[in-house]
Amino acid sequence: MPEPTEHPNGSTTQPSALGPIGDILVAAGVVDKERVHDLLKEHGGGRVETELVGERLVEQGVIERKDLLTTLHEAFRKEIEAYQDAPDSTPILRFAGIKKTLDNRNVLDGVDLEIPANKITAIIGVSGGGKTVTLKHMIGLMKPDAGEVYVGDQALGELPNRKLNDIRKRFSMLFQGGALFDSMNVFDNVAFPLREKTKLSEEKIRKRVKQNLARVNLGAMGGKFPDELSGGMMKRVALARAMVTRPEIILLDEPTAGLDPIIEHSIHHLICDTFLRSRYTMVVISHAVPAIFNFCHHVVVLHQGKVLEAGPSLDIVNSDNPVIRQFINGELHGPIKVI
């Protein structure tokens, strides 16, 4: 039986015997329950092994990777539809009237938003619209000029650094460029937050890093340095680093920026896959419209420093708002003046 997941805030989640991916594959009839049981017995069980069930089944030729991805995507699509029918998740992050001026420009001009817990939320909007600034406010990297950011019930406003660091333990962030440390190889980059912020033994750290690199299909790349990786690989390493501390909330700043459409699609699948395994709250900034609507429950549209619309992704994609329509369709003419 896999051990329960321990979160930084002290809460625990009891996983199912087959693991989240095993449950999905069995429910979809892609694989027999007994086969998954045998597989887990073979690999000694454990929480991470249950999370890696999909990869193990592909490695052993029991299922095709294509079938795994299709099944997971189908499971996620059902979740999106269910969320549209009943968007009932309680907010884990909340902005109340956030204002921020940078270089004499009102980047955020009274932003009120809520991020639902244990869901994937996408923040979309035109470039320079304050999306990254919004993300940085969530984790306390930037302080608002006015308004308040709440993580759960805790206002970040005047928190001393030590308490802010305690709050940050609940987060991980994937930066636009990956922000991998150039002087460290891939393995050490992923191990870094564990070595610095936990008292885990080096043996346990090695095990957890290997498992997280395997999750992003980079198990053999531990010895490479960031400058030897492609853009897509860097993003995957950064995602592995973000997951390795088992946070509650993962913030992803344009995880697909500058990638070709195939890699972009694979990163979206990876995010979706990560969510289905671990049920993290994920906040994704993305320009990958309309693809992103298939990979998130909730969407927040930022425009001119305000939240223009927020809601289930299927509602936003069908919105009549002319700004949203122009943005989704990528039209030159409309309320957003580009040229």
């Binding site: 984790i139 940050r168 333990k169 962030m173 930066f175 636009q176 922000a179 610095e196």
Partner: protein
């Protein structure tokens, strides 16, 4: 800039301590500057020996060449030139490294992990700067005096007893401590200015290049200004 220094100094005393980071920086600032320090020192000593010999010989005072070379190096040229060399070789690298860490969001990444970037990145660099400058200066002094010896004794025929005897008779502990205090304070100045300029870098590659130029120029000027004040106090 003063607030930055204040915050860093407070973190000198606060855990966690990362001796490995400190050793890496001592290696980078100290050991990797050694060759260029030795090269600069030997030629500085040689040129002082040459110039000093011809100047002093006009007054029939060649015998004072040893103390002239030693005092010039120990009190002034050693600390100042060591400061210049370390600024050019290591200080510029510190600024560009910190600048790249800033623009590639690696400093932000540290903060999101709950790691204080001042403690993790700046403190070991400043400690290493403060510790290594006096050591490099001491090496500069010894090698510089040896450079003067090469010219004065081996080339121009002054007796080695006159050269070293004059040094022993005229150089006091006060002279040595003036040089070491200068180099200690230059170490603080260089590492402070260079890490600060990198830490606050903005606007991409151009920002990094501007930060490096500004750090090097400011370090050079501040070394000379501070040198004047210390000299006037400790004469």
């Amino acid at each position: 800039m003063f607030l930055f220094l204040f915050q860093v100094v407070i973190h000198f005393a606060l855990p966690p301590f990362r001796p490995r980071n400190l050793l890496q920086q001592i290696h980078f600032i100290g050991i990797r500057s050694l060759f260029v320090i030795i090269l600069t020192a030997v030629f500085t000593g040689m040129v002082l020996g040459l110039q000093g010999y011809y100047t002093l010989s006009r007054f029939g005072s060649e015998g004072l060449l040893g103390p002239a070379v030693a005092l010039s190096i120990i009190r002034e040229l050693g600390p100042v030139l060591t400061g210049f060399v370390v600024t050019g070789r290591a200080g510029s690298s510190l600024t560009s490294e910190m600048g790249v860490l800033r623009i590639k969001e690696q400093i932000d990444a540290l903060e999101t992990m709950g790691i204080n970037p001042l403690k993790y990145l700046v403190v070991p660099r400043m400690e290493a700067g403060i510790l290594t400058l006096p050591l490099l200066n001491a090496i500069f002094d010894v090698v510089g005096i040896f450079g003067g010896y090469l010219v004065a004794v081996q080339l121009l025929g002054l007796s080695s007893g006159t050269y070293f005897g004059g040094i022993e008779a005229n150089v006091s502990m006060h002279d040595i401590s003036v040089g070491l205090i200068k180099s200690f304070s230059f170490g603080l100045l260089i590492s402070w200015i260079c890490t600060y300029k990198g830490y606050v870098t903005k606007r991409g590659a151009e920002g990094v290049s501007k930060a490096v130029t500004s750090a090097v120029v400011l370090s050079f000027v501040m070394i000379l200004v501070w040198d004047y004040f210390i000299t006037s106090i400790m004469l």
